[in-house]
């Protein structure tokens, strides 16, 4: 298993603040499956830069408010 990079994310909180958006709804907006959104939230998958920007765009936030480097 590749070591998880020290990246935190606020996707779960942002989904909650966006009217309790479901993982499936977010996944549909950015073009990934519900399971992939769950894996990103849990830190089990690092999204591509494009997907990361798409997620930030969905919530109307800058990238650094969605993902934080903790290294």
């Amino acid at each position: 298993m590749a070591k998880a990079p020290p990246i935190a994310n606020q996707i779960r909180t942002l989904r909650f603040m966006a009217g309790e958006m479901t993982q499936a709804e977010l996944g549909e907006k950015i073009g990934v499956t519900r399971q992939t959104v769950a894996a990103i939230e849990a830190g089990k998958y690092s999204p591509t830069l494009e997907a990361a920007f798409r997620i930030a765009q969905v919530f109307g936030k800058p990238l650094e408010e969605v993902f934080q480097w903790e290294g």
Partner: protein, 149 residues
């Protein structure tokens, strides 16, 4: 309640492929190991066993996939997303390494030292099956434990 730990469709496919390989070709290679060196073992017998093993493997993998597609048609129709593709590529890379090693053993080393052609052929087949098993195992492990490329 929102699901967070359910299995992606591609992981289910990998489990089916692994099960098909284990049951189908596991049976074949067990039979080959048991009959190795016995005078009654012949080419027709090996071919028949291999054909049966292949039918079993295909039935499990494709039959299982058809059942899964019936239960969740949306997931079955969906194209692999970026995580699915990254994990599939990792699995292929791992399986390719095993396949190259097996083909070097069966195609280069064994012909110089083993006179029995069926022994060589079965070693090559075992290498191919092992490569596929490794591919499936890596895919499953990546889905369950996480993969960051």
């Amino acid at each position: 309640m929102e699901k967070t730990l359910d299995m992606p469709f591609r992981e289910k496919e990998a489990w089916l492929a692994l099960g098909g390989m284990a049951i189908g070709y596991g049976g074949y290679f067990t039979a080959v190991a048991v009959t190795q060196g016995q005078p009654q073992a012949n080419a027709l017998q090996f071919i028949l066993w291999f054909a049966i093993a292949t039918v079993v493997r295909v039935a499990i993998e494709f039959g299982g996939r058809a059942v899964l597609a019936t239960r969740s048609p949306g997931e079955a129709r969906a194209r692999p997303d970026e995580r699915d593709r990254a994990i599939a590529q990792h699995g292929l890379a791992a399986g390719y390494g095993v396949m190259m090693l097996a083909l070097i053993v069966a195609g280069v080393i064994m012909p110089l030292s083993v006179p029995d052609s069926w022994h060589i052929a079965n070693t090559g087949l075992f290498g191919l099956v092992l490569a596929e098993v490794v591919r499936c195992a890596v895919v499953i492990a990546d889905y369950r434990r996480g993969w960051h490329g």
